[in-house]
């Protein structure tokens, strides 16, 4: 696959605080790559470094064959997390301004703008003032603004935040379309279900460092271990002695036992000790969502395969 963007060994400090450390990933043509992480993990900082809004202290950002300040920013589209529009201007004026900033021919930009407004159910709004738009409409206009110039790489920072489910679908559909037409897409999000549905690969970041990097399938396979939730009063030592248990998490009545991904569930269930207090028992796989929560809440419970937590 065509590498469009590659980030290598990115590091950045603000004063004494190190906000990014050794971040490396690639984005390929036509793929949707997610960058995930809790608030403050360094997602937006990574993206701002790619966009040249900040420059990294260490490492490099390569877009095609360009590096650093020579990156042609007119080929990249960007929807920042903190975004808005000028209030007292017309929708079409602001879209054409964004296109002009990217050196995109204005005539083509106007056609594209009209087509996208129609697609996003905003037909006839081109002469409306931005302040007349609802929040959702405004977000659609911002989205159009980020793709008006047919970028080769599209960076979306939290594109779904604040969208209603209908608009979310519209955005998802369009992001998929763009990727199918060859645009490389890097998006950050909190919504794991959307990421699981939409993205080809993901990069999870916490405290400025890589936690997980790989395709969704790889990650699922690697991390989709089983876990068994038991409601009942049980001794931690007893639970840890059960074969194949890699980790135990307990609170009052509920205990969660982590199991390897290749465990044979029915065989494993037969090995449970007789004196176990079971009011309820549930076996399921760990989801991306849970991995995310664990990382975000700093419970270092994403068990490496084969790593026994005793």
């Amino acid at each position: 696959m065509d590498k469009v963007l590659s980030v290598e060994g990115l590091g950045k400090s603000f004063k004494q605080t190190r906000v990014l450390k050794n971040i490396s990933f690639d984005v390929h043509k036509g793929e949707i790559m997610a960058i995930l992480g809790p608030n403050g993990a360094g997602k937006s900082t990574t993206i701002r470094n790619i966009m040249g809004i900040m420059y990294p202290d260490e490492g490099s950002v390569t877009f095609h064959n360009h590096q650093g300040k020579s990156i042609p920013r007119s080929k990249i589209g960007y929807l920042p997390e903190e975004r808005g529009l000028y209030k007292n201007v017309k929708v079409m004026d602001i879209l054409l301004y964004f296109a002009e900033l990217k050196d995109y021919p204005l005539k083509k930009a106007r056609e594209r703008a009209l087509a996208y407004l129609k697609k996003f159910d905003l037909e006839g709004k081109e002469n409306a003032s931005v302040e007349e738009l609802s929040k959702g409409m405004g977000q659609k206009v911002q989205f159009i603004g980020s793709i008006i110039h047919e970028p080769e790489l599209l960076i979306l920072d939290e594109p779904f935040s604040g969208l209603d489910p209908v608009s979310q679908e519209v955005f998802k559909e369009e992001i998929r379309n763009l990727a199918n037409n060859g645009t490389a897409i890097l998006l950050s999000s909190h919504q794991m279900n959307l990421v699981e549905e939409l993205c080809d690969r993901l990069f999870m970041i916490h405290r400025g460092q890589k936690v997980i990097y790989g395709s969704i399938d790889e990650v699922k396979e690697q991390y989709a271990n089983f876990k068994c939730t038991i409601i009942g009063k049980n001794d931690r030592i007893t639970l840890e002695k059960i074969p194949e248990v890699t980790g135990v998490e307990q609170n009052e009545y509920a205990s969660v036992l982590y199991l390897p991904k290749d465990v044979n569930v029915s065989n494993w269930l037969k090995q449970l000790p007789d004196h176990l207090d079971v009011h309820e028992l549930k076996v399921d796989r760990i989801s991306l969502h849970e991995i995310f929560i664990h990382i975000a809440t700093d419970q270092d419970l994403v068990p490496e395969v084969g790593d026994v937590d005793a």
Binding site: Y86, N88, K102, G145
Partner: protein, 411 residues
Amino acid sequence: MRNSWKIAKWEIRRNLKNKSFLISLFITPIIFIIFFTIPQLFSGGEEADSKVYIYDEIGLWEELQPLVDQEGYLNWDVEVTTENLESFKDILVEEEDSAYISLDADSIMDGNISVLLGEDASERIISEARILEQPIRQIQLLEAGFTQEDINLVNQPIVFMPIEVDAAQTSTESEEAGFTDLLSQIVPGIFAGVVLFSIVISGMMIFQSASQEKKDKVAEIILSSVTTDDLMQGKIIGYFVLGIIQVGVWIGIITPVVLWRVGEEIPVLEYLFVPELIILLAFAILGYLLYATIFVGLGATLEDASTSGNFQGFVLMIPFVPFILFGPVINDPSGLTAQIASYIPFTSPAILIMRLSILEEWPWIEIIISLAILIVSIWILAKLAGKIFKVGILIYGKNATPKEIWRWLRS
């Protein structure tokens, strides 16, 4: 630079399409014209003619009338009457806004002229009647047996005339010439002052614009296409052009009115287009650049201008400091205050425009030093403002404190 120009064009277009900008653009000169012309209309209107009856026993008024009419001093609608004072009292009860002046022989000799004012007659008639003083005095003196020469001597005022040592020969003409000289200097000065005022006003709009950009959260989208320097420069250029457009409109509306009112006495345009104007405009433009860089940096530190603390409010007042110094500088344009203020970049543009408008001899050395200080200050402030702008414009949700700004400056 090309990107700066795109930003500038956008700021210009955006404002020219903005109703409130357009309204203030046209309202300001119209208000000026109203203030300039209305008082004149009123004072002209007040001088409606008063009806004055004159009892002219000795034929004095007949003699004076041609002179008075020619000079146009009096707004009297005079009617010569033969009625005496007593009988006129009744008439003035009816004609409340009329007056009666009794120029009978006795009154003239003892100098007590009776003036009868109707209820509503203007008090001004009394003071206007003083125009009769000189002719009456003449009659008195003639009656007392003085010759015409004696009278002329008495009437000759005594004048103390200052004669400057080095300009002794031309002293008599220079009075008139000095006034026109001053005017010919003040006209370009006023023009440059208006230019400075207009672009400083539009410079304050930069502050609004930078702060608004932060509030609307558009900055980051723009910065994904252009650098912070481009954005900052673009704003400075854009608002400079807006300021110039504003001056153009103001001057375009006001000039015809000024020419109409005073054009005959003062050749305004002739005085305006002189080489000195270039220096004055240079100060105006440098002044703009100085304030604009400060404001653009400051605007980037504020999300909500209405909650700005004392610090930012204080900085916004800087362009108005020269007004405080207006009095001392006008009193003594070569004085210490004026000189010091000429070397301080924040006051020098306005102060030098003031001083150069009234000084006959331009202090060229001071001008050059002052220009140099201004240019260096602008360069340094642009660097500092760039640092503040770069960090400030991307911080959301709060206003920066002076402490934070200081930290950004040092980084």
